[in-house]
Symmetry: C3
Subunit: 206 residues, 3 copies
């Protein structure tokens, strides 16, 4: 896969995920540095977990300053203009869906290129997508939103998008066919589910 | 150690740990996918932490579909028949003790076969045994039950069982002597302590 | 860097961090074994995260019994003499600042010696310093104190100290110049900020 394309997609995903982490930090009344730590943990965490599980250490989130810069910028912007950012919350939820779509696909492609099969690559793509947000919620001392019933479809669109990318990469489809269908499925499913309030149900008879 | 025997023991442990994770998920009113994520994190988490610490990446919990299948089956079964599973809670606590016994012994043997000494192997066996449940409780936003005073003996039986297995493997005892004493000690200690309400005490004079 | 000096600094840091973990455990009414688990997770956690991110596995916190002994001693001492330890809380906060200063500098040096550049080494030093306390707080089911606005300066002094050590090691300064300025800056900044109540502020206009 084209290296610059992958880097660009990853950086955008890092930035929007870091925005969601910084918003949680500002609402919890953390100071600027706590906000930056939470923004970086959210933006870089999913990719770092992916890299550790692939044995690709030290992870790029630590060694490549561009990832760090993207997450830091998101943290600073949110801290100083949080009212503006919060007003954009619908935009942010949409961007978060875009970040999910980007990370699940790039994570699956990286895993597939490291020699993993389709199922492990799809799982690792999903972990890349949902990992940063889980770390954010653990640090903010709450149940990860990806797990909660009211969140709507989140992990499953990521898994579906990652699976499409893993299949495409395995069978050496052209780059655009590896990336686009997975992103469209993940992003579209997540956004339509949010808009319409579609959500899977908790267990019956509790 | 016989590869198939080890796989079988590991799969049973994964299944019963995943059951406990799925029960926590159903009680927290997570939907089916949140339940599956929590079941998999509980069933596979301890082994994945062990593999990452041993440098054995990507971990088998990700690349070997049988682990994933065991955890997923446990999650689905719990979600749809949770009243049945909850009625079996005593059975599940007993199975959890069995999972603990299986994981602490197989974790210690894996570490020992990777060249670690007795003490590190015993520790890594204990981490394999208690790690999945700790991840479950962190995700469910509660203090890990293994840490709480009311849980009774949990980490210590795991450490004792892992130590026996690590010693046996170090001195190249026959497989049955490596596996059985550690499992019996861990399982027996845990189950008897549960039945009789034996538990270590918190610090005095608080 | 001199190996024994580094080990000694690391062991002292492990001991004082483990003290803070054990104090949290005793206050949460954990029993002796839960206290030991929390003491070890706090004392060894930051270094283990650092080693995993550097690909230096199995981590020394697991394979070198001296680290384990230091953390265990701190746990046992706190459990049995917690009133004494709690009365020394100001001393402990000062020791915690010393542990932070030791770990951020040794972590940065280890990363730098593994071939990382200045920025990644400084980050990894900071992670080594703040990681154990974050693990402690996650296990105790609270927001990590390093993130909270009331804590005062914590992550930034660690990053500054780590950066000085990373720069010194990169340019092959003499050992004393690699270690001392970073430790002094981190320790002094943290301690003076605590004494005077200096702290960065949360975002305005919430």
């Amino acid at each position: 896969m084209n290296e610059y394309l992958e880097l660009t997609l990853d950086l955008i995903g890092t930035f929007v995920f870091a925005l969601t982490g910084a918003l949680v930090a500002v609402r919890n009344r953390l100071d600027i540095f706590g906000t930056l730590v939470l923004a970086c943990a959210t933006g870089l965490g999913g990719g770092m977990v992916r890299d550790v599980l692939l044995g690709d250490v030290p992870p790029a989130g630590l060694t490549d300053w561009r990832y760090l810069l993207a997450a830091t910028l998101a943290g600073v912007a949110t801290f100083y203009w949080h009212r503006l950012v919060a007003r954009w919350e619908n935009i942010i939820l949409t961007l978060d869906a875009a970040g999910l779509a980007l990370f699940c696909v790039t994570g699956a492609v990286l895993a597939s290129e490291a020699g993993l099969g389709i199922v492990p690559s799809a799982l690792l793509g999903m972990i890349s997508g949902i990992g940063g947000g889980m770390i954010r919620d653990i640090l903010a001392n709450r149940v990860p939103v990806v797990l909660e019933a009211g969140t709507g479809w989140y992990a499953v669109p990521a898994l579906a998008g990652a699976a499409l990318a893993a299949i495409g990469n395995q069978y050496e489809w052209p780059t655009v066919l590896v990336l686009v269908p997975g992103m469209v499925v993940c992003f579209g499913w997540r956004v339509v589910a949010m808009r319409r309030g579609w959500a899977p149900m908790p267990a019956r008879g509790l």
